[in-house]
């Protein structure tokens, strides 16, 4: 079997075995722990008071903006991975190319900064 397939086969086995071993203590609890289904126990915890209102948060665009800027920069980081591995062999031209790529994205970062997309308050 090629090395790549064997590597990821191990990863798959780890995922399955890990899930089983993580579920194991939960099963032990299901067998051992007491279960008293009192209605007071399942009330949502809100520091001792009776909760009111829906259990969802008011929409705030800042969560979305952060996730969005994150996605764009994550894609950029993906381009950096192969560049980091090969650029020593390819010389100055490769470095210049990546410099150009990063400059364009730094312009994007500056734009996001100026427009307040990176502010939390």
């Amino acid at each position: 079997m090629p090395k790549v397939l064997l590597d990821w086969f191990y990863v798959a086995v780890f995922a399955v075995v890990g899930t089983l071993m993580a579920v194991l203590p939960l099963v032990v609890v299901w067998l051992l722990a007491p279960r008293a289904d009192l209605p007071q126990k399942t009330i949502t915890y809100e520091s001792g008071v009776i909760p009111f209102g829906q259990a969802w948060a008011q929409f705030n665009v800042r969560y979305y903006l952060f996730a969005l800027v994150f996605v764009v920069f994550d894609v950029e980081v993906i381009y950096l991975y192969p560049w980091a591995v090969v650029f020593r062999q390819l010389g100055a031209f490769a470095f210049a190319e990546m410099l150009l790529f990063l400059l364009v994205l730094l312009v994007g970062l500056a734009y996001a900064w100026r427009k307040g997309a990176l502010e939390w308050v």
Binding site: M1, Y10, V13, V17, P25, A33, Y45, F66, M98, L99
Partner: protein, 399 residues
């Protein structure tokens, strides 16, 4: 049947690594955290259960195993149950690529995946989903808010984390963890201190900046102080795991501590040479011995003898003494590998974990907007500049 042998090997290694995580990362890690926090706060941590309180976490685990599993009403039961498992399994999967040492020619790693550190970063991003799922499915405003804020924090720090990883991958020329350590062996020095010759010690600022970026991002990724606002006890009542009881809570903690140890392990691999022995001249080991003797003498003779820190510092000084004496005689005798590589790896990893725990009681908690500013406006530009500067230096002066 060769695939059956591989399957059995994989299952065996999975059980071993999961047990290692559960015992070392979760149990020993929590014990160390409580002891070290205690010493820093001028008190003794756990000391009654077992010798020096070592069995405290075992007792805690037994206690948690018989706590009732409460599912809040109107909670999404399926997702509520699955979330802690996601976090624990993602933290476990991180450890597939981490090399523990080298026996002869064999590297002690589960699988040396070609895209090693990229795989590590990918598994860290899967944990975020478990946290959001846990926070939402609790049907609790505070848990939901805590989960979303925690997720915002974690995704914000994933970019600086990746930039730290990229720096090491760039200098080593490979994404494989074993490859990165081998590159440091070839170079003869750790990436934190030196870049490949002929740059040498001029690489020190780049190495320090990269490792600090990575360690800061790693601390934020595992929601530790000073970045633990999402789970701060005084603010959001444990945030996204507010409604989790008993063993489910323990699984979240296992995931977090496993991830913390994983980050420390990857940091030692990328910046501190992984399993390699520090190659110092014999006389330098003699200096270390002298230093430990001085520390022990100061503690024993001055008024510091009365303080709480006597025993741990004496212990550390004694260990340091033993270690440096062994290293001194070993290097004098010309041995190429005096102490086992596994020991060096674990020592470096625990040193970093100690550093993380020390930071916890040294710095105040950052507010969420300060934390996000630090990531996007400081670490990201600095990380990119560091990458570009190191690339420039390597292109112009490297080989």
């Amino acid at each position: 049947m060769p695939w059956l042998i591989e399957l059995l090997k994989a299952i065996g290694l999975a059980v071993v690594i999961f047990t290692f995580l559960a015992v070392v990362a979760a149990m020993l890690g929590v014990y160390l955290e409580r002891k070290i926090s205690g010493w820093i706060q001028a008190r003794l941590g756990p000391k009654h259960i077992g010798p020096q309180g070592l069995l405290q976490t075992v007792a805690d685990t037994v206690k948690l195993l018989q706590k009732e599993h409460i599912t809040p009403r109107h909670a999404d039961a399926l997702i509520f149950n699955v979330a802690p498992v996601i976090v624990a399994v993602a933290a476990l999967l991180d450890w597939v690529v981490i090399p523990f040492g080298k026996l002869g020619d064999r590297v002690l790693v589960v699988r040396d995946i070609n895209i090693g550190v990229l795989y590590f970063a990918a598994m860290s991003s899967v944990i975020v989903i478990g946290i959001i799922a846990g926070g939402w499915s609790s049907n609790n405003k505070y848990a939901l808010l805590g989960g979303l804020r925690s997720a915002s924090q974690m995704i914000s720090y994933e970019i600086p984390l990746a930039l730290g990883i990229l720096w090491a991958a760039m200098v080593a020329g490979t994404l494989s963890t074993v490859g990165i350590v081998d590159a440091q062996v070839r170079q003869g020095s750790w990436f934190m201190f030196k870049l490949p010759s002929p740059i040498g010690w001029f690489g020190l600022p780049f190495g320090i900046l990269a490792s600090l970026t990575f360690l800061t991002a790693a601390t934020a990724e595992v929601n530790r102080v000073p970045f633990d606002l999402p789970e701060a006890e005084s603010e959001l009542v444990a945030g996204y795991f507010a409604e989790y009881t008993g063993m489910r809570f323990a699984l979240f903690q296992l995931g977090e501590y496993g991830e913390m140890f994983g980050m420390a392990a990857v940091a030692t691999i990328m910046f501190f040479g992984g399993w390699t022995e520090p190659h110092l001249q014999p006389y330098m080991w003699l200096l270390v011995t002298l230093g430990c003797l001085v520390v022990a003498a100061v503690i024993l003779t001055t008024g510091l003898r009365q303080t709480l820190l006597v025993r741990p510092i004496l212990m550390l000084a004694g260990l340091g003494l033993l270690l440096s004496l062994v290293m001194f005689f070993g290097t004098r005798a010309g041995l190429s590998q005096v102490l086992p590589s596994l020991m060096w790896f674990l020592a470096k990893m625990f040193a970093l974990v100690f550093f993380l725990m020390w930071m916890r009681w040294t710095y105040p908690r950052l507010r969420l907007d300060q934390l996000l500013t630090l990531s996007w406006k400081v670490l990201l530009p600095l990380g990119l500049l560091n990458l570009l500067a190191t690339g420039f230096v390597l292109t112009v002066w490297g080989r």
